[in-house]
């Protein structure tokens, strides 16, 4: 339960910072004839940030595992032989075998796919909902804003883990793919509110800018102003929130699978493996520690990446 609260708390911070993260004018022009853009400025800062490179490296590594797990291990994670239960490292199994006699390392590598799939797709759906809702509420204001803000308040008031338990019980007997998409949908439906608030506040800031007034005077319609002028400015804070949310969605998926209501075998998930390793920790702790490390590093990588990008886009914080 507390996992989600923390996630909410970290996102709250980003939401608060996101408000102030309005696109400022570049205060120090680099080359005299070519003023740097906000993105260019941010990139200059990011390039010199070791945390950014470290977290990016981790993210790329995990993404590679998800796409091509065969590159990292030659063993089949589902090839389990009980006779080598908790056996030490041998052959391709560099970290030994777990309680069921499966290759611990291979299972951790193959677990990246489900985690990243859930994280990325949930973040994508979250992003779409948040952009649409935030844009409508922020741009039109008035009763549209009032209604949408109340909806956000209500969804924000639902305790995430409890709601997920109730929702996912409905698919407890369904197949592998249905469960996967149920988890993605549930996380996205309960998790879009913070991002929507961030988008809304940055749209409200952008709406009052001179270039929007200029565009309107030139005869641009609402659709064009929203799409061409406001969206690019609302995107940066949204991407930051979504990067952090991606990490927390991965943590949430693992938590649900750990409880036994998220993904289930034969899907390979870090949450399931952590639960299995926990039960037999007295005999051998490696099957617990390996998936735990993979999960913690992945979640941390996304949170640090989001933090680094936010710091680069919001120099006022330093």
């Amino acid at each position: 339960m507390s996992d989600f609260e923390t996630v909410a708390a970290t996102e709250d911070q980003s939401a608060r910072r996101g408000v102030s993260g309005e696109p400022g004018t570049p205060d120090r022009a680099g080359e005299p004839n070519r003023p740097r853009s906000l993105a260019g400025d941010a990139w200059r800062d990011l390039r010199r940030n070791p945390v950014f490179w470290l977290s990016l490296l981790l993210v790329v590594l995990v993404a590679a595992m998800a796409v091509a797990p065969g590159l990292f291990t030659a063993n089949d994670p589902r090839d389990c032989v009980l006779s080598r239960q908790h056996a030490g490292p041998s052959g391709g199994a560099i970290l030994g075998y777990d309680f069921q006699g499966c290759d611990t390392f291979a299972r951790a590598v193959y677990g990246a796919r489900a985690s990243l799939l859930v994280g990325a797709l949930s973040a994508l759906i979250t992003g779409v909902i948040a952009l649409v809702v935030g844009m409508l509420a922020g741009y039109f204001g008035g009763w549209v804003d009032a209604v949408l803000s109340r909806v956000i308040d209500i969804v924000l008031g639902i305790p995430l883990l409890l709601a997920a338990i109730v929702l996912l019980k409905r698919v407890s007997t369904s197949g592998e793919t249905v469960r996967l998409f149920a988890v993605i949908l549930v996380l996205a439906l309960l998790g879009w509110t913070t991002a929507a608030r961030v988008v809304r506040s940055s749209v409200i800031t952008a709406r009052e800018q001179d270039y929007v007034a200029a565009a309107r005077m030139l005869g641009a319609g609402n659709g064009r102003i929203m799409w061409r002028h406001i969206l690019p400015n609302a995107l940066a804070p949204a991407i930051v929130v979504l990067t952090i949310a991606l990490g927390s969605f991965i943590a949430a998926e693992a938590t649900l699978s750990f409880l036994g209501i998220g993904l289930k075998a034969p899907t390979i998930s870090w949450g399931i493996d952590i639960d299995a390793g926990r039960v037999h920790m007295r005999e051998s702790a490696t099957p617990l520690i390996v998936p735990s490390t993979f999960l913690a590093l992945t979640v941390l990588a996304f949170i640090m990446l989001g933090d680094a990008i936010r710091d680069a886009f919001d120099p006022k914080l330093r």
Partner: protein, 312 residues
Amino acid sequence: MLRFILRRLLQMVLAFFGTTLIVYALMFAGQGDPIQALAGERPVTAAQRAYLTEKYHLDATGVGGFFYRYLNYLGGLLRGDLGQSLTGRQIGDILAAAWPVTVKLAVIAMAVTILVGVTAGVIAGIRRAGVFDHATLVLTLLVLGIPTIVLAPLAQYFLGVRWPIFPPTAGAQPSLWALLLPGIVLGSLSLATALRLTRTSVSENLRADYVRTARSKGLVRRRIVGVHVLRNSLIPVVTFLGVELGNLMSGAIITEGVFNIPGVGFNLFRGIRTEDGPLVVGIVSVLVVVYLLSNLVVDVLYAVLDPRIRYE
């Protein structure tokens, strides 16, 4: 003030009906055959089926039937009658036995949060950009980034099994000592957030005009920080702690499950594992009410604590 509380109460009543309706609709409406779901894999005789249909008014169909059963469930919830779990125990009795343990655990977690989190936050806020500040920022990032399902089993393994400093699990009647490690694990998350909140709040207030005034009046630094800055800085922290206490009360599902603590979260954990539908719904319904109530208390507390906030 009274008007604000009344309005807030009214909002809560609406939210209560809304959330219970959603919980109820999702759990029971539209599922294939509730009687078969209740019985699981076992066959149901015609007599049992007739008895259950009569008992739960399952013969009424359509919207009217659904609302009839919903109001039935709501009435039971309000009277404190949560029905029976699949194992035949009264859910109310299970919760009554579990609640004191959960409260004990929550109080330990809260104490850890306040003692360590707020103190360290104040120090980091005063010495901003110092070594201590940077160290706490990195540490809190780690704590915030590592999920409980990693933190709890690893703490149990390293501090309970590998180097047996703490008892690895709590028993049926857990002592305070056995609850200490789970309390620290549970509190570590709110600790990290409380620390960051205190730090930001203190360092912001240190730049305020009234601090400069106090300093130019010649007050010693200890008095400025201890009396003037702290009083203003702790308002958001107290609010946050209030919300957290509500969350902790609603049971730490993972922590209680891992450390075998027979609290509310543990019973929910077991209910999910054993597919005990009525137990899960009963506990979730009560937890939602606890959650709504704690939010209400915090909102009112906020208005009392900070007179600058007006709700009109």
